[in-house]
Symmetry: C2
Subunit: 334 residues, 2 copies
Amino acid sequence: MKNDKLTKELIGIFKKFGLSHNHALISTNALINAELVGAYGHGLSRLKMYCDRIKKKVINPKPKIKIRNISHSVSHIDANDSIGFVAADIGIKQAIKNAKRTGIGMVAVKNSGHYGLSGYYAEQAVKENLITMIYTNAPPAVAPHGALKSLFGTNPICFGTPTGSKIPFILDTSISMINRGKIRVAARNNQKIPLGVALDKFGKPTTDAKKALQGVQLPIAGFRGSGLAWMVDILSGVLTGGNHAGKVKDPFDDFSGPQNIGHLFITFKTNLFVKDYNKRIKDNINRIKKLPKIKGIKEIMYPGQNKYKRFRVNSNKEIKISDIIKKDLEKLKS
Amino acid sequence: MKNDKLTKELIGIFKKFGLSHNHALISTNALINAELVGAYGHGLSRLKMYCDRIKKKVINPKPKIKIRNISHSVSHIDANDSIGFVAADIGIKQAIKNAKRTGIGMVAVKNSGHYGLSGYYAEQAVKENLITMIYTNAPPAVAPHGALKSLFGTNPICFGTPTGSKIPFILDTSISMINRGKIRVAARNNQKIPLGVALDKFGKPTTDAKKALQGVQLPIAGFRGSGLAWMVDILSGVLTGGNHAGKVKDPFDDFSGPQNIGHLFITFKTNLFVKDYNKRIKDNINRIKKLPKIKGIKEIMYPGQNKYKRFRVNSNKEIKISDIIKKDLEKLKS
């Protein structure tokens, strides 16, 4: 493995900050995966933040996570302010277990934190031949339609399904025009962001990533995107017992308490209603890939396909670590 | 009731075309509701189409609808080419029953047809104090990202929840920039459509509704909207045993066979994980409504609120019937 050294280093750091070996491993794997799929806003750029939150006692490194089974299908998890990676890992595993038992699983998690990429957990369910839908909320970043102030998080909608081939279909789309993590990385590296994705704090369009972080991000498709963000806030916050309506704290800026993010994992078997799901989904994808293409497009890609390719290519390389993150690592180790 | 005469007329027409009184009533109520909420593309403008399809034997007026219970939570319905309204009515009622019994319900329907507004069925579940997610596919209208040809339907994403007040939260958003029904109404009335919502058959932007119907509609948010449309096609078509990947026939133009549309209804109790859901959702909505507003915005509305207001206002008026539809009614009655 190309990144064994980095993996060991990260596990060591998380353990130094009080996590068990198992929890350190889960958290490290999630960060490394984010780097390998090219989601740098969810990767090493967040390591210092997680450690800071543990140090300031707003992430609990030794959580007592409670799983309450409401039925054979439905479970509720109180993550006791654990690092989000661990809460989500337990959440998706319980949802997989429930779906295998009854055909359908639903698991709500409360008192969790930022868990990185929804798609990473969706992949776990898809590997077990299940379909999954995952919702989580996030700190205020997007203004509700008609409002002058951010309240919704970038609240991703995630859907995963087996495809009958080795590359899973993983849709993991934030309802903001751009991922907040990407703006954060741009701000750290003094890069510009595209016009039309964010407003500054005065409500004016900006390409300055730092100003965008102080202002509001725009939802996709106006009222429609705003409605989808609201739906995610209800499913992951109101329903689960987590924070909602803008109460999730920004993990980088607000150390006044735990985030209490909620997640919702829905999982179900592919063959509940048809015997030949894998054949059907293969046909579906093939038919769409065979459509006439717009000039310049080589292949019509399904969601998750590009990410998978990036993962395969990057897995054979050493992860590039920027100078800023090198400094983070040195400080955190010492 | 202001529209009793029209209601009787429609029931009479559906019965004349072979529907039972009960199925005629279900179908009539759905059409009248679409008119009252102002969704004219799903209202009387479709009556003639439904009757034509019955006459040409691609809708079965006397369906033998089979419900197969896979578990106490999960059911599969074969609608036997019934009119979509009836299949969806049975589908949502079964999903409500399953959720009341076990906390969560999932009902897939196959061999159905166009059922009008997803939100109409979501309201039924919300009235029973359940949260619901509804997916259905539709004939090709939107080009997958990168493709030059329509394949996805306008594939709505629908989510409904009780709000602790009398006006339900019903998000019912198609993933196209504009509802296909609206383009159809514009085409019938020789009205223009906004720029940027559709391309003509040569791939050029158009404001001509008739040219748009021959061309492709654009998804919201590019790759993201295309991914959401694909998700809906999988959930409502691939999973259920319904048609998918562009095989759903256009109900107005293609009488070569039944549509075999699939629907998926997911329902669950609001209090699975929290005791005070109604209070929590009320707090959520109130907090969002209190945000500072953009100049000119009087109130931040949640999805479904405007529709509910239109319904209340329009229920006290007689439905206006255009000359084209008057002609339809006369012909269908005689």
